[in-house]
């Protein structure tokens, strides 16, 4: 966002999906109304989602100031300060071009894939060009760098697939490069299905051209002439911006026939996913583009040899692609210099849950989980201890607090039973029930299982049933053993990653939080107070004021009493469904959950 002021006042509003959800449209309207003299622009998400709506205001005297949590109440203060009439709102300031004010959240990150996020207007090709965009593909073509040299450079960088599996990108490209056949395809996998992950959304929304340039580099390396960007339909803004980026790039000569006057042809079209988690798997994604049910196919043949429409196909994840222009520009060695011996470069995480500063975090490989949670994320937001972090969504697992010093590397994370995954990192505190989390993920994978493999189709259902029974207080100790047994069988008898990894949430919670399972079974107690079958809501009459608000919001008419007579208020346990609406609306914390 550090552009020279061209007008007395320049106002830049963050308008990614998070910004819009937090009210950036209203904020923009209010600025338009109150500051008619200003030039108002929008940029994509900066990845500090906890602080939306974010606005940067630039004027010549005071420089650029980035503000958080901007709303209609504080806009007049901000404008007064930048017009030289009032005090600075230090409480809202994230960073300023004036010295002495830093932001741990951004300063502790190493942003390579996210280098442009929140810094440019995602709908502007010129803005991307100004930040060095398309320089890498120009360098390749103008200097006549051979595809093999491009592959070599990426090999030197040590880049591994950022979708989660971590397969070396250059090796995968090598297979497709040497595969026979004129027609080859490159697919950008933007089917970010892990609940709790939004790295790809932010990249596609905030910096679509760098993903597109990454696709160009990859296509050049493997010799592909057609490409698809497979993007989840749940990300409408990403689809819109990416389509615009494709059109603009085509008009500027970066896509189409004879790119930049060379013999290299490449064009891209967007395919929208239709809501199937399994389509993140390569062969299922291919089936989906071909118009079939998205069911995985047996490998080999691998897609690099026989993929989309039977042609050699490379599928790269959004984040992997966004790294490529940087790697070509700065050299593979510069990328390899970041990170550890085994894992090079950086990884982007989407930090969410009860944490102070959630959002996008890009850190060098080897950073510990603890550093991400506390130094960048700022620790718990609710003041309760963080007991675990969930990595890798339904394919991943929960890492307990005792292992927070594990470095972020593929192998080290696998050793804990979790996985690197695509980057979802959801924090769990003492109010999260680990049995409920396992049940939540199994419910998800059971619905998303395509049904091809029996162990995945039936096994996940049985596991879900057992977990539901335990959550309802009906479980036995034998159920826990059965659960573990089925988990191992599903893992070893499924064709694709979905089934092979579906038991991970169960196995890791059983490994690290077995005591919670036992409490559910033997004591009929949910330690976190989450599982509805094991908790009771009670009105504490000595704290109650008798205001009756809980009665009005109770969806099942389970609460009764006389106004202003606290001693008369009770919840009928036979009617109560433990939904928690009463706890939410009670003004005097008079309802206990136990």
């Amino acid at each position: 966002m550090n552009l020279q002021p061209s007008k007395p006042l320049e106002i830049i509003v963050g308008e990614g999906t998070c910004g819009i959800a937090a009210g950036s449209n209203d904020v923009r309207d209010i600025f338009t109304e109150l500051a008619p003299e200003a030039e108002i622009r929008s940029v994509g998400c900066l990845g500090m989602c906890h602080d939306e709506v974010m606005v940067e205001i630039i004027d010549e005297k005071r420089g650029a100031c980035l503000y958080r949590k901007v709303d209609k109440k504080n806009i007049p203060d901000l404008l007064r300060f930048h017009r030289g009439e009032g005090e600075m709102r230090q409480d809202l300031l994230i960073r300023s071009s004036m010295p002495s004010i830093g932001a741990d959240y951004l300063d502790r990150q190493t942003r390579i894939a996210l280098r442009n996020i929140g810094q440019l207007d995602p709908e502007s090709l010129d803005a991307y060009r100004q930040r060095g965009g398309y320089r890498s593909i120009e360098k390749i073509i103008r200097e006549g760098i051979e595809p093999e040299q491009v592959i070599e450079e990426v090999k030197v960088s040590g880049l591994r697939g950022r979708g989660g599996a971590g397969f070396p990108t250059a090796v995968k490209w090598g297979f497709a490069r040497s595969a026979k056949g004129e027609k080859k395809y490159l697919i950008c996998n933007g089917d970010e299905g892990d609940p709790g992950a939004f790295m790809d959304r932010s990249l596609l929304e905030g910096d679509p051209h760098s993903v597109l340039e990454g696709m160009l580099i990859a296509a050049y390396a493997i010799g592909a002439s057609s490409g698809y960007a497979y993007i989840r339909a749940e990300y409408p803004l990403a689809v819109e911006y990416f389509n615009k980026a494709i059109n603009d790039a085509r008009n500027a000569g970066f896509l189409g026939k004879n790119i930049l006057g060379s013999s290299f042809d490449f064009d891209v079209s967007v395919k929208q996913g239709a809501g199937a988690f399994v389509c993140g798997e390569e062969t299922a994604l291919i089936a989906s583009i071909e118009g079939e049910r998205g069911m995985p196919r047996i490998r080999p043949p691998f897609p690099a040899v026989k993929g989309l429409f039977g042609k050699p196909t490379i599928i790269n994840n959004v984040e992997s692609l966004a790294n490529l222009p940087w790697i070509i520009e700065h050299g593979g060695a510069a990328y390899a210099a970041i990170g550890t011996e085994q894992c090079k470069g950086t990884k982007v995480f989407a930090l969410a849950g009860p944490i102070k500063r959630g959002g996008l975090v890009e850190v060098p490989m080897g950073t510990t989980v603890r550093e991400v949670l506390y130094d960048i994320g700022g620790g718990s937001s609710a003041g309760r201890p963080i007991k675990a972090v969930q990595l890798g969504g339904p394919s991943g697992g929960c890492i307990p607090e005792s292992l927070f010093d594990t470095p972020i590397e593929y192998e080290a994370l696998n050793a804990t039973g979790a996985i690197m995954g695509s980057g979802g990192m959801v924090v769990m505190d003492t109010k999260s029930c680990m049995v409920d989390i396992a049940r939540f993920f199994l419910e998800f994978t059971q619905i998303e299982s395509c049904g091809k493999c029996t162990f995945c189709r039936i096994g996940t259902l049985r596991m879900k049933e057992l977990l539901t029974r335990i959550c309802d207080g009906q479980g036995t100790m034998d159920d826990i053993d059965t659960l573990e047994d089925i988990a191992h069988q599903v893992r070893s008898s499924s064709l694709c990653g979905l089934g092979q990894t579906a038991p991970n949430p169960v196995l890791t919670t059983l490994k690290y939080f077995r005591d919670e399972y036992v409490a559910h079974v033997e004591e009929k107690r949910c330690p976190a107070g989450v599982c509805k079958g094991l908790i009771t809501h009670t009105i504490m009459q000595d704290t109650c004021t008798g205001c009756s608000i809980c009665e009005r919001y109770c969806p099942v008419d389970a609460i009764a009493g006389v106004i202003k007579k606290p001693e008369s208020w009770v919840i009928d346990p036979d009617l109560c469904v433990n939904c928690g609406m009463c706890v939410e609306v009670c003004n005097s914390d008079a309802i206990s959950v136990a």
């Binding site: 939306e52 395919k271 959630g358 919001y553 939410e584």
Partner: protein
């Protein structure tokens, strides 16, 4: 299923136009169904019949695709769809309560039902929409609402209904009032009593 007024009237020419734009081979199946659902909110039988008759996609294949992907639905929806996110972050932050609260406001009591009896709103539980830092989240139309408590969800729904000229079931007779609690008569007790 009973015949109901929510069933869409399919414009055959429109479906033919999409076929002309998208193509007739099998790989057009998903984009065609997406176009149909964008228009009607669900996949009406008549529209699917047109696709089967005029493309290379067989009936079983089209039905197979329509039932495989969670985006597609075969039942009609209300005039507005509320997407309630059930991603991990939303789940741990109380997405279930958002559902409970919305169902209360819409008077939906049958567990298998997801549309209000007056055809105003349909509640659609969706997988992660990627706004995890604002959990729990819901989307009504094109508008996203974050950091929701159950009561916030009810308030946002009422505001939306007022803007759209919709009535929530049980409130057809009254003017919508953003501050009044649901279902139970707003006139029964005065607001000051509980504030």
């Amino acid at each position: 299923m009973e015949e109901n007024s929510l069933d869409a009237t399919v414009d055959k020419l429109l479906v033919q136009k999409w076929i002309a734009e998208t193509g007739k081979n099998v790989s057009a199946a998903v984009p065609l169904l997406q176009a149909v659902q964008n228009e009607y909110g669900y996949l009406p039988r008549e529209a699917m019949d047109v696709i089967v008759a005029e493309t290379d996609i067989g009936a079983s294949q089209l039905y197979g695709v329509a039932t495989f992907y969670s985006q597609f639905r075969l039942d009609p929806v209300g005039r507005h769809v509320i997407k309630v996110c059930h991603g991990t972050a939303c789940h741990v932050s109380g997405a279930d309560r958002v559902n409970t609260a919305l169902r209360q406001s819409l008077g939906i009591t049958d567990e298998d039902e997801d549309t209000a009896s007056n055809g105003s709103y349909t509640i659609d539980d969706v997988a992660c929409i990627g706004c995890c830092s604002l959990a729990p989240v819901m989307v009504i139309g094109d508008e996203t609402f974050g950091n929701l408590k159950g009561t916030d969800a009810q308030r946002s729904l009422k505001k939306h209904a007022r803007q759209q000229g919709e009535f929530l079931p049980g409130h057809e007779e009254e003017k919508s009032d953003a501050d009044a609690p649901d279902r139970k008569s707003p006139g029964k007790k005065k607001k000051e009593v509980w504030q």
